[in-house]
């Protein structure tokens, strides 16, 4: 027994070493416990605040570039306003013409990038808005030029965004002219290049064609620009195209982003979950019934109070 204790005391550094390594690896591989991870990432309030202060100071360096970008966006918007006005006039003149379905309005929450990596395998962006501003995981993030990424985890005042530049990011997209769809992936290396896979071989693909979101997922509305086709290649199995895409979003100077907060429809997600997993159907239906009952109750009470008045 004594010998054993001596052995342990003599080699205690080995035990400490193993313990610390195990702790590190648990942090590393507990990628699924998002909420747990918040304490060890930049979604943490202390770290987030530090970065906020630093970014407040350094943002002056990029002001010129940001200004230019804003001017460009302004110009584009002015053109659009002009076009819209023309269209409106044309429609008012002929009131019999049916109005096309107006695009749904999306609520955008503007946020600033406070921290970002570009040269890792799993790049992440930290922004200075969080749950308090209505941001939840799996919301789409865009900038003035195009798609940036998807919200990955949130704390009260900060969120971490998984940008397109992450090997785990996969966004469904389509070619603007032919509407053939594929999925956008990234490979480690360049911060402005991504790849579109699984576009069928019979699709007419040209260089300089614009790649945009296709609206199949409930994260991005359809038609948001992502990038432009730069090179056309074949996938390793030869069954589909493998397109090299130059991204519109300039990640190296990214400061201002917007989060789309009200696009994802819970009803649609529920339906899709139900279709994928039939065992869930009962519980979902029960929940729906409960919701309905609640609604009926509240309407009844309001009616009652109204009648009392």
């Amino acid at each position: 027994m004594r010998a054993l204790i001596d052995l342990i005391i003599h080699n205690k550094h080995w035990f400490v070493f193993l313990l610390l390594e195990v702790i590190s690896l648990v942090f590393l591989f507990s990628g699924n416990g998002y909420q747990k991870n918040v304490y060890f990432t930049t979604a943490n309030d202390v770290v987030g605040t530090t970065y906020n202060v630093i970014s407040g100071i350094t943002s002056y360096i990029h002001l010129q570039e940001v200004n230019q970008e804003l001017e460009m966006t302004n110009e584009q918007l002015r053109k659009e306003v002009y076009l819209m006005r023309q269209q409106m006039e044309a429609m008012q003149r002929d009131s019999l013409k049916r109005m096309p379905a107006l695009p749904q309005q999306y609520d955008l929450v503007n946020a600033q990038v406070v921290n970002m990596t570009l040269h890792k395998t799993n790049n992440l962006i930290t922004i200075n808005k969080g749950e308090a501003d209505g941001i939840r995981p799996e919301m789409g993030v865009i900038c003035s030029r195009g798609v940036v990424g998807i919200v990955y985890m949130t704390s009260r005042h900060y969120s971490i965004v998984m940008p397109l530049l992450n090997v785990n990011s996969k966004i469904s997209c389509r070619l603007r002219t032919s509407e053939f769809f594929g999925s956008l992936v990234w490979q480690r290396g360049y911060a402005n290049i991504a790849y579109v896979t699984s576009v069928p071989r019979h699709a007419p693909v040209k260089k300089k064609e614009i790649v945009e979101t296709n609206g199949y997922s409930d994260i991005f509305p359809p038609g948001l620009p992502i990038g432009v086709v730069q090179e056309i290649g074949d996938s390793p199995d030869g069954m589909s195209y493998f397109l090299k895409v130059k991204l519109f979003a300039n990640f190296t100077t990214l400061r201002e982003v917007s989060v789309i907060t009200n696009y994802s429809a819970p009803e649609r997600r529920m339906l899709e979950e139900m279709a994928a997993d039939p065992t869930k159907q009962d519980s979902v239906l029960i929940n729906q019934e409960k919701d309905l009952e609640k609604k009926i109750e509240t309407t009844e009470t309001t009616i009652n109070t109204d009648s009392v008045r």
């Binding site: 205690k12 550094h13 400490v16 070493f17 610390l20 390594e21 702790i23 590190s24 690896l25 648990v26 942090f27 590393l28 591989f29 507990s30 990628g31 991870n37 060890f40 990432t41 930049t42 943490n44 770290v47 530090t50 970065y51 630093i54 921290n115 990596t117 570009l118 040269h119 890792k120 395998t121 799993n122 992440l124 930290t126 971490i160 490979q187 480690r188 290396g189 360049y190 911060a191």
Partner: protein, 174 residues
């Protein structure tokens, strides 16, 4: 004892801030990023309690991880070099040197010190980038990141050493 701890805390925060604010934004050729936090481990003098070295290394690694969204990667790598540092320092130290020898150019000699730093940096970057990639799919890039990062960090640490220890030299010579 206390001043030693205070000095280490100061060193930890200075290294952490320079790493997070400056070196994390350097991407030489797009893939070489130096991990200068390893200097924390390089500095420990001989016969420091090994547990102490391990805990300091783990602390700076974990703090770095919090700032750069690399949960556990730097902590694991720093702990690994903290395990190797005492053994390596013992090997590199001249036979008739004092017990609490502080690793520097003066005590180890220029080439020995450079080799000592380079070896630790290679292990640190190797562990860090292998945990980052977790595959060997794009191994040439990973290899370049490891080698380039290690050499670059070694150069930076040599510069830091030269700057910190330079003013003391003339006094000793005179």
């Amino acid at each position: 004892m206390n001043s030693n701890v205070l000095m280490r805390i100061g060193r930890l925060f200075i290294l952490l801030l320079t790493q997070v604010l400056v070196f994390n934004h350097i991407h030489l050729f797009g893939y070489i990023t130096p991990l200068v936090i390893g200097y924390m481990v390089v500095c420990f003098h001989r016969n420091t309690s090994r547990v102490e070295v391990l805990i300091w290394a783990f602390a700076i690694g974990l703090l770095f991880d919090m700032f750069s969204n690399t949960a556990g990667m730097a902590a694991a790598s720093c702990t690994l070099i903290a395990m190797i540092q005492p053994v390596l320092l013992n090997r590199m130290a001249p036979r008739d040197s004092e017990d609490d020898l502080i690793p520097s150019f003066k005590t180890l000699g220029f080439w020995n010190y450079t080799f000592y730093v380079l070896l630790l940096m290679l292990i640190l970057h190797g562990c860090f980038y292998l945990l980052d990639a977790l595959t060997l799919v794009d191994w040439p890039l990973t290899l370049l990141s490891i080698g380039g990062g290690a050499i670059f960090s070694t150069l930076i640490i040599i510069c830091i050493e030269l700057i910190i220890r330079a003013p003391k030299d003339p006094e000793h010579h005179s």
